[in-house]
Each structure stands twice: as C-alpha cells, then as structure tokens.
Subunit: 338 residues, 2 copies
C-alpha cells in the first residue's frame, strides 16, 4: 500500500491478512514509533510501578450482531480477554466504547450489554470505564464496540516468537474455523444451515492452567482473523523458522469441513474466537497436551506440527503425502466476522 | 430511558447531557457493577503493582473530520490525554482502534495518523497498540477512532468531588465554547464564517504544573460534551453543594459570543477540548490562578464562581444582577462534536 492520491481502503485492509499487515507496516508503524507497537503483537507490554502490564484494544463490527454461540457483546469481551491471556497477562480490567446508530433498539442494546457483563464475569474481568457515542441514522451499521483490556503480566514468564527453537512442537487447542463459518452462515446469504456454533469463549482460565502447570511453553497466539494459517505465517516470518503442519492432525469438525468445502473456503483460514496455538519445547509437548485436554476449552487439543530451521515459511503436509506452502490470507476478504 | 420494546437510541443519548446520564445510570451502571464505573468519572482508577493507575476510553466520531484548529486524529489523542490528566494521572500510553469505511482515502488516513502521532508527541504519550476494522461502504461515516489511555496516578494526590467544600472557588482555565462552535460552523450548514478555532490541546502539561506547584486543588474536570454548564451540574449534584457562577466572569471570546448568539446557542453548553475547570480551596485560589496564567494553555484563566451549602444545584448570577438556575444539556442535541 503506497499512499498515492488515488488509493482507498478496501475490505481486505481489515481482514487480518496481507493488506492488514501492509497497512500496519506502512502507516501505523511508520508514525507510531514505539518498541511495543514495532513487535506487532496483539497486546503491548509496558512497565508500570515496578512490574509489567499488558494492554490491548479491538473494535468489534461483527455482522450479524447475534449468531449461534455468541453475539457482539460476548465477542467484544472474549476477544480482548484472549489477546491479553495469550500474551501472558492476567486479564483484569476492561474499558468499553460504544458507537451506536440513531434508532438502534434500546432492548437490543440491553441484551448486548447484559451479554458483555456475563462474559466479563465468566472471564474474571471488571468493566471499569465506558463511553457512548451516537451517530445519525445511516452513519453506522447498528453498533460497533471497542474494548480495551489491561492486565498484569505474570512474573518471570518469557513468551514470544523469539523464544521459539527448531524442534519445538505446535499444539492447537481444538477445532478450528467454527466462529468464522458460523458468522458467515448467520448472514443467510448462502441459504445453508448447519449444526455449527461459534466457539467464542474466554481463554484466560485454560491458559492460566497451562502456564501454571506446564514447562516449556514458548509462545501462545489466539486464532482470530485469518485463522490458523495466517497466524502461523506471521509466527514463522517473525521467528525465521519453518513450520511443518500435518493436515491430518489439524482438528476440524466434520460439519465445519463439509460446509467450508461447499462454500470453497479453507477452515485453516477461518477465524476462531475460543482457540489458540501453543508452541512448546518438544520435551514437554505431551505434558502440555495432557494438561490442555483436561480443560473443557482444550479438550480437543492436538499436536499438529513442528518448527525446523528454514526461511520462515509454513508448509502443510497433506493427508496424501504431498506438501504445499501456506500463505497468509489474501484476496477474497472475509469482512466483519469480529 | 426505560427499556420497553419500542424505545430507540436518539442522538441526544450521545451528547453528554440528560439522556446520556440516563443511559449510563439505567444500563451501564446496572450491568457493569464496579466501584470505578459507579463513580462515573471520565477515567477509572485502579490499583496495580502497589500503585494506582487510571484508564479512560473514548470514541471519536466528529464530523467533519478536519476543522480549524484540529482534526479527528488530534482530538482523539487530546481528548483521552485530558481525561487522564484531570483525574490526576500522568498520561503515558495510548491504544488506538480504527473503524474505517471501505473506500476511505489512504492519504486522508495518513494525514489523520500523522496528526495523532504529532499530538501524542506533544502530550508525552506513546501509542503502543492499535487495531483496524473495515466495514462496507455505507456502514460507517468515513472513520471513527477509539482511543484508550493509561497513566499512573500521582502519589498522595486526592482529587474528587468528595473533596469539595463549601466556600471553595471555581476556576475556568480559559475561553469556553470554541471547539463546539468551530465544528458546527465547519459543517457549513449555517453559511456563517467566523474567526473561531477549536481549542483542541493536550492539558497534561498545564495540569502537571498546577498540581505540582499549587496547594488546595480539590477537583478538576475537562469541559467537553455539554460544556461548562453540564459539567457543573454533574459536579454540584455529586457533591451536594450549590455553585454560584458569575456570568460576567466566564471567559468567552467576543467572536464566539456573537456567533453563538446568532445561532441561538449558549456558549456555556458548548464543548471545549482544551479547557478545564478547577475547584480550589478559597485560601489558595489566587495562587492557582497565577500559576495557570503563566502557562499558554491557562493564560485566560478566571475565577468564575464559588461553592456553598445547598441542594446540589448550579446558579448563574447574570450581568444585570438576576439569578437563574443552570440545568444539564437537554433537548436540542449537538451531535458528533467529538
């Protein structure tokens, strides 16, 4: 993305794929020069009062507002809680900012706020600040919610792409792709119905257990926009190692696989809102897997791949024995799934 | 605002006046039960790592995006920095979340981001986290920006409405109403042109000087949505004391007074983005005034009123000797001025 006079923002600039990365690199990193933002993690870590805290912000524009398994309110809490959790922070406080279109139903707003309050309780966070703006009818699509989360970072914990070593194993905490597919189906433009629900859930508790009980955890990342494939391409590029993913091991429900196939979508690129990847020292990978599987939000965890010396690329070893390279999400954007 | 089936959000729910207060009381306070949010300050204070930090969030939907004296980028930084500063925090980190309409010009976005970076530098804060969402053409009006700020609270400082005592003096840091009026004029729907600029500025430095050099500062509040009058009605109601404001002492530029008069608007209800009120122990009021006047952002400071035992109401003593009660902004909303 060069800033010549005629260039405009496309839907793809918000889908978490190649265009989003370009926007971040060429615009935000260029002007907002800080150590934290240069690292392009989902949360920024800073020192305050002698210890480290993490902060993360996300706007939620999901359409439709309600879908099987969740709604914009639940999503806006879980998404931010999860960004903190995967960065080793203990989610504690949330600030919520609402942009509402004139004419929006107060009972609908109440349902959303109640859902946020429920998700906050479930996640162990307090909503301590809020703001409301109202724009004229036609100037927004219903409601957008921005949540910003704060939490102290666990002492002595060292998580980060720089910790990843050749030989490390890749764990995925459960079935991928369900949130993205559920939201797409909820738009009813495909006339398809399937038994799929969003996996939208707060990961603070399962990650707390993993980090408390297990050794050798190098890196965690929740699998949102762009899905597992996009997350892995970013991780591989950042750490400079290749990742080999065993396609047959990646957990995908048969309902999800079937519907994605009909729509010509790859579940590896579809967003989750209650799943994460963990990179674990190979010696402790089985132990981490066992630990995860004892938690309801990690019961479908699988070892799906391994890091090795390379050029920072991601390869998928297919069920039939072939290998193909995975690239970040690019092209057909999947807008407004979160 | 009761939540019956037919009720909808109106523009007034976002103007900082009576309807906004109702929405906060009946919806947000009801579901988000936390000590911090019950206090309804512009920033929430919490303990972390043995000391206090403050967090505040605001969405900016100003229309138009550019106006004399500022733009949505500068506003989104100053507004959040000022909310922290008036709560006794030292603004340190910002998170920024962008909701952008498909088709928005990249050069315009770049101009806004550059303006944010400049304002952040001027305010002494770092932008450490960001998020971008893109919605389809027609689903948002150009760009909305949510900024969330964090800063440690000064040790030993006790600011708050509960600190206010009968006899305390009210100081206003300079001319009121200029931001709101500038934005209204920039919409060009009135065919009026005047030499008025937004006062949009970061108040961290002037407030730092006031709090470092002066004694007896009880309470600070920036004068945004709803203007001086609405801010005072909230303060009076919260502390249970009356406030008597001398109309002749409230600083209003003649250009602002003239244009407001033509439009039938009262400058006391128009937003500022670079002014604040200070409640000061009467014994130290002159000292605070001198201190403020030495700073470019407080050079027009005036003593405008006094608190006294009463029922939590605000009265304006007019130039001709009469007295009338000031009520919070209600009725004709002034939408999207921040």
């Amino acid at each position: 993305m060069r800033s010549n006079g005629g260039e405009t923002i496309q839907l793809g600039h918000g889908d978490g794929g190649v265009l989003t990365r370009q926007l971040i690199k060429h615009l935000f990193l260029r002007y907002f020069k800080s150590t934290q933002i240069q690292e392009m993690d989902d949360a920024a870590v800073f020192r305050t009062g002698g210890r480290s805290g993490a902060i993360t912000t996300d706007t939620f524009v999901v359409s439709p507002l309600f879908f099987p398994g969740g709604d914009i309110g639940r999503l806006s809490v879980c998404g931010t809680v999860n960004d903190l959790a995967v960065n080793g922070a203990v989610p504690r406080y949330l600030a919520a900012a609402f942009t509402i279109e004139e004419g929006f139903g107060v009972p609908v707003l109440e349902r959303i706020v109640r859902s946020m309050a429920d998700a906050a309780r479930e996640s162990g966070v307090q909503v301590i600040a809020a703001d409301t703006k109202v724009v004229e009818k036609g100037s927004a699509d219903g409601i957008f919610i921005t949540t910003t989360g704060y939490g102290p970072v666990r002492r002595g914990l060292r998580l980060g792409v720089r910790m990843i070593r050749s030989g490390d194993r890749l764990v995925v905490s459960g079935n991928v792709g369900e949130h993205g597919l559920t939201v797409l189906l909820a738009r009813e433009q495909f006339g398809l119905h399937a038994e799929i629900r969003s996996d939208c859930a707060p990961l603070a508790d399962v990650i707390d257990r993993l980090l408390s009980e297990c050794t050798g955890i190098r890196f965690l990342r929740d699998l949102t926009r762009g899905g597992l494939a996009t997350a892995l391409t970013e991780v591989a590029e950042s750490c400079g190692l290749d990742v080999i993913v065993e396609e047959s091991q990646v957990p995908v429900s048969s309902a999800c696989a079937g519907v994605a196939d009909i729509l010509g979508l790859d579940p590896l690129y579809l967003a989750c809102e209650g799943k994460f990847l963990a990179v674990v020292d190979a010696r402790y990978a089985e132990e981490a897997l066992c630990c995860l599987r004892q938690h309801p939000l990690g019961s479908g965890a699988k070892l799906v791949g391994q890091f090795r010396t390379g050029k920072g690329q991601v390869f998928l070893r297919t069920a039939v024995g072939g290998t193909r390279r995975l690239l970040p999400l690019s092209g057909r954007p999947l807008p407004r799934i979160c």
